[in-house]
Amino acid sequence: MEQFSPIKRSKDGQAVRYLIVDDSVFARKNLARIIESFGGEIAGEAGDGMTAITEYERCKPDIALMDITMPQMEGIEAAEKIVQQNPDARIVMVSSVGYQENIVAALQRGARHFVQKPVKPEVLYEVIKYVLGEDGVVAATAGAGA
């Protein structure tokens, strides 16, 4: 897999912490691999919306990647609940083109961004940088050695 210059937290230079929410184990694995290639750290995983909320409260990640269609509670509702509790939460919706309306709904309820499934690493990389804004910094030198 292509290597990216790691994105670090600008406040402490530590790895960016992620919560990955998807009901497919394969999709979680795939996302985790991509994120690790960005130098990120998987703080938690969840397979449904309910777990996502409790996991978010437990690990307080920098970014949550959220699937839309899941059992128990859908991604939109989970995103909404998380944002209600944590107004600064950065939630990126991950979904296929067919769920565009749901993405719009999630964006209206506080999600920050979206990426299309299947996730392209270079797209997600740009999205992460954008969502982190000033809180993220690209460690230019570290990438070359990795």
Partner: protein, 697 residues
Amino acid sequence: MTPFRDDPGAEMRELFFETSQELLQSLNDDALKLERSPQDGEVVRSIRRTMHTLKGDAAACGFKELSELAHKLEDALAEGSAADAGALVQLSLSAADIFSAMLVAYRKRTTLPDTTAIKQMVSKLASGPRATRSKRKATTSKNSGVMWTEGERKSAGAAKADGKSIFHVVAYLDQLCAMPIAARQMVASQLASIAQVIAARPDEQSATHAKKFDFLIATSAAESTVNSNCVIPTVISHAECFPHGVEAAASADIARGGAKFPVPTEKSGVAPETAGPTSVAENILRVGTERIDNVLNLVGELIIAKSMMQQSMQEFTRRYPKDPLRARFSDAMAFQSRVLNDLQRSVMKIRMVPVEQLFRRFPRIVHDTAKSCAKQVKIIIRGQDTDVDKSLLDAIAEPLTHIVRNAISHGIENPRERELAGKDPTGTVQLDAYHQANQLIVEIKDDGKGIDPVKLKAKAVKENVISAADAERMSTEEAFDLIYRPGFSTAEQITEISGRGVGLDVVRNVLMRMKGTIEIDTTPGQGTTFRLKLPLTLAIIQALMFRIEHRLYAIPLNAVAEIARAQESDLHRVDTTEVLQLRNRVLPLVRVGQRRNSELEPRRDKIFILVLNLGERKLGLVVDALEGEEELVIKALDDHTVSTDLVSSASILGDGRVVLIMNLAAVIERFTRSGTDVSNSGSLPRATDGAAPEVRQ
């Protein structure tokens, strides 16, 4: 001079001819609106927009003269905004006329009409102050590009008054992003965090294929901030931000978009690749009527096939009453017939258009007619949403126009007379359309002086239409019938308006051809109502089938008021007319068969009388036997098949028999005029069972 250069443009020109009709219509509408409310600046703007669109579209099609004229008018309207509204109304109406004439000339490739008169009007208007010119430039460019509605522009104005800057932001979708709707939401949210979003194009529903998004925002942020906020990696590749009012890029779009495709009002500015408002147009399919007719015809064949099946089914049931397969067949057939009904209804619906398409011409017609008769008339239009078959609509346009003109020139009194009679000096003409049973009813009602039967008779006697003795005996109903006589008019003198050689006789003929009727309701001093009744569609009718001398005929079921049973001995003869005493009414009878030869044929005692409603009159049609009701698919008969107007069409039954459909109006006319019991003068053509109709010369 003719700008036809290449063929690929032909389709576009066709489109232009079509869309420009709508533009001219709205020009007419706006002009009349302006006449009613001269202070309404929005109407003037609307007229100017119409001119602007016409100008662009015409130029794109190479119609230089029209484009130039529209351009002149557009200029004149901007400069003359302060000018007398009356002059603007006149100018707009004349413009609509001259444009329409030009379009005809372009279409037929004939000489263009003379435009000197209108140019003079323009230059008269244009002599206003020059200072407004630069201002106008800004306004028109604001009108170009994406169109913001008046309300949106008002909010922008209000925000501007609050010290905010107004920007038009154009955000372009990133190639990587396959979800424009979501992308649109993201930009909108981004903009909302720094600005008040006044308007957005396209809206959420129509953004499916959008490549760029237009926003009108009010903000206190700087242009660069707005710009950088809109750029979102992987979603929005870049954005442009213009202070509202000077949109350089948008007018560039016009050149691109306009040249490729002449889209009507409010759309010309959008580049072709955007889904924006154009996507609305994409949902509309233009289909030639003949294609729809073709489908309808096939549906008709299916209905015949259905009745074939039904007959076979009956036969099957008779032979194998116990067979379990029977239930399955009948289930399948019930399903089939339900789908078929839906199919038929849907296809019919395609042909249906709201009657508004016809009605909206009338404000102008009323305006012009009233003006030339020096009368004050207002028009009220109701029921414009009523759907009607397109071909029917086209057919009644002419009769309707005639009746409305008549109502104004003959019906409505001049203002002074009206005041003397204690009425509002402004007369009213009311158009109404509605469905009743399977019919379309169109009413034309005026509050004029009504029709006086006494005057009518006097006039008829004077013109030698009837004798004085006839007039004495005539009932009021019969007197009203006089107005349908060719060349008959009660107007003191033939005016240019209603004396165009098209009389009410022609109106009635047209209606007869469409299997419709016309009724008059009039109260002297209070007004007249003409009521046109037409079948909703001409393709499929509910018919009553009957036999006369073993021949099968059908008539539309809705013409039959009642069916009476009688004995030959119940019939009486009054003068030359056979009559039947039906309850307390005497019903004149019509017999269409050959003279009964009692030696050859045994006298049949039991007969049926179909009581027919024909406009005001009731008549009984004597038939030998009833055959039943059926939905008949009408097959037109051309003149080569049957050379008589007594049958209007034919149909094929499920068992292959041919049934002729009587043209009732013609039958009754023919058989009442020459006495009832006609032998030689006319007899109906026959359809020999299972074969093509016999030709009768």
